[in-house]
Symmetry: C2
Subunit: 194 residues, 2 copies
DNA sequence: GAGCATACCTACTCGTGCGTAGGGTTACGC
DNA sequence: GCGTAACCCTACGCACGAGTAGGTATGCTC
């Protein structure tokens, strides 16, 4: 039943999706949807929650914390893009939807914050191993940028049905890791004085 | 009047925003809004258009095409984050809104495609200067990731009213340019064979 | 000052879609 | 066979908000 909801929400968007259509698509009638899942908002949150949990699990399962940073990043990215590739309309559109609608932005922000935290933790760990340290806020912002770039490529992937998730992950590594590795080695860019 | 519309759309979101509220906020009555700007969708598109054009102009004006790549990137980013910083609720929320709602996704995709194209062109130019070349699709994807990372930081900036746009731009350079510079010098990351 | 047009408002219609009330149907106990 | 209970449906009430019709004031022409 959640599958049907995800499908319709994806295709129509939250507002344009009617409960009638979801019910029809699920092969039951509207009052049943209300009986099982509650209001439209609750239904959407349930979808969001399930997809989010699945995604986090896919990533967490792949990126064991005892691996070196680059290996973790690579496995995490591969799992992530694999997931998006397998749930194209599910993920990307739900995600895009949720960002726009205030009632869910918070829910999503929490999910994303967890991701950012994981990435930041990973970077921090790698930095300490190098005997280095940078301000927490800088770390957070870098992690934020990496997560953003990844989401952006996920959108790209969702819009290009023929693209290969694995290859996309490799490309992401090329952007993310080459830059991050520099930072880890203490190379930084400074604005020109003009 | 567009200012009022942008403000309300930002605060409420496209659907939750009522034409009554926009009219009230603009200090006129609803029929006037219809007389001047047409339907709600047209009004939203007008907002989107104005903000988008302003942003593109801000960037284009700062990043002259005859500068070296890193300098162009830096100036472009600085202009971009400066713009977002100055139009916090305008930009970020409009942008977030537009991605979710199908009727406007296309409009926005066009804008973003122009940005991606500019970034890709810049990278390509820099690559050729180094006597190198990579597949157009890879170039596009890298550019896409950079644009995504930048948007992500723009969101971050919009959510952190005290943050400094200039500093955010510097951080973005640290992520983007260090990675890109590596790519330009022919350094690439390859997946481990496992 | 009468006629007219322009600029604007108040107050309505009407469609749409969420959420629900109340009725039918099937299966089981007695 | 009849009561009853679980289950699901059709068909509606109701609120909300986009878009409009028709009326009012202000200023301009003759």
């Amino acid at each position: 039943m959640l599958d049907a909801a995800v499908k319709v929400f994806s295709r129509r968007g939250f507002h344009a999706a009617s409960m009638d259509e979801i019910a029809e698509d699920a092969g039951i009638s509207k009052p049943m949807v209300y009986a099982y899942l509650g209001t439209k908002e609750e239904l959407f949150v349930a979808c969001l929650h399930r997809e989010g949990t699945r995604m986090m699990q896919a990533i967490a399962g792949a990126a064991a914390p005892d691996l070196p940073a680059d290996e973790r990043l690579w496995r995490g990215l591969r799992a992530f893009f694999g997931f998006v590739g397998a749930h194209r309309d599910g993920w990307a559109v739900l995600y895009r939807q949720a960002r726009g609608e205030q009632p869910f932005a918070g829910e999503l922000a929490t999910m994303r914050a967890r991701l950012v935290e994981v990435v930041a933790g990973m970077l921090d760990h790698a930095l300490r191993a190098e005997g280095r340290e940078i301000a927490a806020i800088d770390l957070e912002v870098v992690a934020y940028a990496l997560v953003g770039a990844t989401e952006s490529l996920a959108d790209w992937l969702a819009d290009h049905p023929d693209a290969d998730p694995e290859k996309t992950a490799t490309r992401m590594m090329n952007v993310a890791w080459l830059g991050a590795a520099q930072l880890l080695h203490g190379v930084t860019w400074r604005p020109p004085v003009d």
